[in-house]
Symmetry: C2
Subunit: 178 residues, 2 copies
Amino acid sequence: MKVSLLYSGGKDSSLAAWMLRRLGYEVKLVTVSFGYADFAHYARESALAIAGDGFPRRGLHQLHIAALEALAKESEAIADGTRRDDRVPMPTLSEVQSIEQRYRVAYIAPLRGFGAASIKNLTYRIFNIEYAPSEASKSADYEKEVRAYLKDKGYDVNKIFPSHVQSRVIGYKGENDE
Amino acid sequence: MKVSLLYSGGKDSSLAAWMLRRLGYEVKLVTVSFGYADFAHYARESALAIAGDGFPRRGLHQLHIAALEALAKESEAIADGTRRDDRVPMPTLSEVQSIEQRYRVAYIAPLRGFGAASIKNLTYRIFNIEYAPSEASKSADYEKEVRAYLKDKGYDVNKIFPSHVQSRVIGYKGENDE
């Protein structure tokens, strides 16, 4: 079973990749960026919407859906690192079912059934992680590109995006079932 | 990491057990029945509520929550076989967080991020399954006990519970990552 995973290098999408692999999936990591397929159009649109209402959550949600749709066009199954306790709006059941029906794909969110504490346990058991403020992070989240794009356009991105810590997986502790 | 899984022998809770094991959890299968802890009281109450409004979904939902709470009293982490596309009402986020806070446990629903098609794929890859109408099924779902209890009390259970097919795992196809 093949699955294309929306991948940023952060701990959530890395954990999602590990889980899917453990469950027997053949996982393709896809980092969707402004240069990916016809994603740039949506990304610019969402970036300007974010700048317009100064409220990044809605725009990032739209971007997430657009990224899943870009992935869905070329995959049998798609996945992301969405967690049960995510603070950002996650794909709703109706959005997910709409993507599944329109693109004839299966959508999998392997972390959706896990709460914050369980994710933390799994993550520390499996990975070595580096934390950095989101403006300095090396992870490939499209939030970064949105930020760069808006900065180019002359917006004060630090006013729009609240500063938060982003994670990047820098090592794997190996298979350890205990 | 230890987790107690609400287990019926059906394909969903069996798949949940397999998944948790693959992810490195030490899984304890617990079949909650009328005889389990102080569960009988809730079970009888829900059974009569079901008989009262002739609408099993609400009562079975209450029972599910009561079963999770019974499990939570003696576990660090609890889990069930709830799926994204389940037709019966599943524990809501606020119910889950309430249980987690009151009992200081983590609740895990490993199948929650998987749609019907993905569950089906995984299930057929892993298990040999037997299907039977729910009234004849050998699985240990507490719905069966509720049914038996109401029959004893003189109710026509076939009018209350719509006939449906239940599954039981009768074999394991072995580790196969392809």
